[in-house]
């Protein structure tokens, strides 16, 4: 865009070029930018969603393993199992009198 500058008794001095802001262009650009940011965040969101989902699964698995180990431990140390094993090894309850040499 050209703008003429007039000074002193309406005498023409010079002509300068001025840029006019194209608002439509700015609007489209900002929409694209916002959409891009939105899309990036959405992708991040999905990634985090997957991560949370995986973390939840892991937590569930760990609790499950913990409970399974507790169960196994108490099964192995249960008096029934121990007494059965003791019988296999031929162990007997101690006598009332124990002679200490």
């Amino acid at each position: 865009m050209k703008t003429a500058i007039w000074v002193r008794h309406n005498r023409y001095v010079k002509t300068i070029k001025r840029h006019r802001i194209n608002w439509i262009f700015v609007l489209v650009l900002s929409i694209i930018l916002i959409s891009f940011i939105y899309l990036t965040l959405s992708v991040k969101n999905i990634q985090i969603g997957y991560q949370i989902s995986e973390a939840l699964e892991l937590q569930k698995e760990l609790i499950e393993t913990n409970h399974a180990l507790k169960l196994e431990w108490s099964q192995l140390t249960s008096p029934r199992v121990l007494s059965r094993k003791a019988r296999v090894f031929g162990l007997v309850p101690p006598q009332e009198i124990i002679k200490i040499k």
Binding site: I32, S35, S53, R80, E96
Partner: protein, 568 residues
């Protein structure tokens, strides 16, 4: 075409493609996401709390177990599927076929399948058949304290015992989250929507000691096998606090197989079933007479030489006695002597003390289904009724009531509330609730309680309870043999043998009640139940490392003399 025009055309085309992609992304990400159908709500089931014994040993725990389901509308050949499933899961093919042909969207085929069954199902891909993991309760010690723990149903609700009574604490609260399922079936949790994690149930710490519980159950099983008895019950209480250390029933019940059990198998007979206590009730009469001051331990009573008529009924003694002191009446378990003490005391006073000892009312234990027992109002007592109640016939009590009454004698006269849950703890170990011992009321004075302890000690030293004695540990207790009633008459050959006692007599640590139902051929409490008491008491001594009440030298002397006598 000019280059400029070509460039403009290519740029325009690129812009069109770009904007289409952008529009599509915008439509998928922004417009479609707001539609409700895309975002699904998923529930997060909580883990049921763990039940521990007093030492932190696991008694009940939850793990996930696989269950097989079917979508009948998706099954192509129900006949083939039914035959395969019936073989793999050991189910009846007829029932299976009916389920598979139901046309429903979802039916359960078998819940909580074993690993072997799961392998068989996984080995072959069947359309419309799936596997889902569900929470399952496991009891690692099998039938140990089965009737106390109870069990949990398929829906995760406690149905019996502690599991039912404390279900609100154990169950926890389920959580939820919103998410989208991707093409591979993976769930993407959306942080934009609310998320509530599941709150696992609280853990319970019981007063039971699983080692003592095991010892009691084993001793009970041995006695029942030896004497061909119908059933047996035992309860062990800490007399000063009311903590129940063991509560055993025989036949046992395995909560892992609750599906096959009948109601009578998982009923806690110690608190629900009543029986006539027989001679184990005589100390209650003695306590009343001594506490009222109507009688002293050495007052003499005539025992009528084993035969005493009251109205139309004749009361007998096992052995005929002539003159007995009040103490000897209890020591030798004389029925006639007990009736005479009752006559001196008076039925109203006796009734008052029976009530004070907690008979005819619930003990208040933190388990469901407790029975009150049967105690008729004193105004309905005839002379014969008042007489028979003196030796424990004509009144019904639970094993727990009897143990609680003896605990009052053991702890100096205070009636305590028995309890099985000690504390409730959350999954981070923070204490949520603590159950403290509760004294219900004072029953007798400390002096009377001390005298009674001495009398009960004499029962084991000189009287009917000799087989319960453990050298150096001052066992005190009372035997009981009560005939069982049927159609208004007492049966001659069917009885309940019992022994209730505590040790050491001067400072009791535990009260043990052993009840054996219908032992055969011998039915006396002193022969059937007293040795079982001894066995259990010995086990507690070993486990708690209790030292004898006498000096080691004295103890060695007693044991050596016994060994010499054995050799001779």
């Amino acid at each position: 075409m000019e280059i400029k025009t070509r460039i403009i055309l290519i740029l325009g085309l690129l812009a069109a493609i770009g904007s289409t992609i952008l529009w599509q992304a915008f439509r998928l990400q922004v417009l479609n996401q707001t539609k409700k159908g895309e975002v699904l709500k998923f529930s997060l089931p909580p883990k049921r709390g763990i039940i521990y014994d007093r030492n932190g040993e696991v008694l009940a725990i939850t793990l996930s177990a696989p269950s097989v389901y079917a979508c009948p509308c998706q099954i192509e050949d129900p006949y083939k599927t039914a035959i395969f499933l019936s073989k793999a899961l050991h189910l009846k093919s007829k029932i299976l076929l009916k389920r598979l042909k139901s046309g429903k969207n979802f039916v359960w085929i078998k819940r909580w399948v074993s690993d072997r069954e799961l392998k068989r199902i996984r080995g072959r891909e069947l359309k419309g058949i799936g596997i889902q993991r569900e929470n399952r309760r496991y009891y690692p010690n099998g039938p140990l304290a089965g009737q106390v723990l109870g069990f949990v149903g398929f829906d995760g609700y406690g149905l019996e015992g502690v599991e039912r009574q404390f279900d609100n604490y154990l169950r926890g609260r389920s959580g939820y989250y919103y998410g989208i399922k991707d093409a591979r079936g993976k769930i993407i949790i959306s942080p934009k929507f609310p998320f509530r994690p599941a709150e696992d149930g609280y853990n319970l710490f019981l007063t039971l000691d699983h080692r003592i519980q095991y010892a009691v159950e084993e001793a009970l099983a041995r006695v029942i096998k030896k004497w061909h008895a119908k059933a047996g019950y035992a309860v062990i209480i800490e007399p000063h606090t009311g903590e129940v250390l063991a509560l055993a029933n025989y036949p046992r019940f395995n909560p892992n197989n609750f599906r096959r059990a009948r109601a009578k198998d998982y009923r806690n007979h110690v608190i629900t079933d009543t029986f006539e206590p027989g001679s184990t009730f005589k100390p209650i009469l003695a306590a009343a007479a001594l506490d009222r001051g109507v009688l002293k331990p050495y007052d003499i009573i005539y025992a009528e030489n084993g035969r005493y008529r009251i109205d139309d009924a004749i009361i007998h003694d096992v052995k005929p006695f002539k003159w007995l002191s009040a103490q000897q009446v209890i020591v030798h378990s004389s029925n006639i002597g007990a009736v005479k003490i009752g006559e001196i005391l008076g039925k109203k006073a006796f009734y008052e003390y029976i009530k004070r000892f907690g008979f005819g009312q619930k003990t208040g234990i933190d388990l469901g289904g407790e029975s009150k027992g049967l105690l008729r109002p004193v105004r309905t007592w005839k002379r014969v009724d008042a007489a028979t109640i003196c030796f424990g016939q004509g009144i019904s009590v639970t094993a727990l009531q009897l143990a609680t009454a003896y605990a009052a004698i053991a702890n100096g006269g205070k009636l305590i509330r028995p309890f099985v849950v000690k504390r409730i703890v959350d999954n981070k170990g923070k204490i949520v609730k603590v159950f403290k011992p509760k004294i219900r009321n004072r029953v007798i004075s400390e002096r009377t309680a001390k005298r009674l302890r001495e009398i009960l000690r004499e029962v084991v030293l000189e009287g009917t309870g000799k087989m319960a004695e453990i050298d150096g540990y001052e066992i005190a207790g009372k035997t009981g043999t009560a005939q069982k009633p049927k159609n208004g008459y007492y049966q001659r050959n069917k009885a309940i043998a019992s022994f209730v006692g505590f040790f050491p007599a001067n400072n009791p640590k535990v009260v043990i009640a052993i009840i054996i139902d219908e032992p055969c051929p011998i039915r006396y409490g002193g022969i059937v139940a007293a040795p079982a008491f001894r066995e259990v008491a010995l086990d507690i001594i070993w486990k708690w490392h209790l030292s004898p009440c006498i000096s080691p030298i004295e103890m060695t002397r007693i044991l050596q003399s016994k060994q010499v006598a054995k050799k001779e």
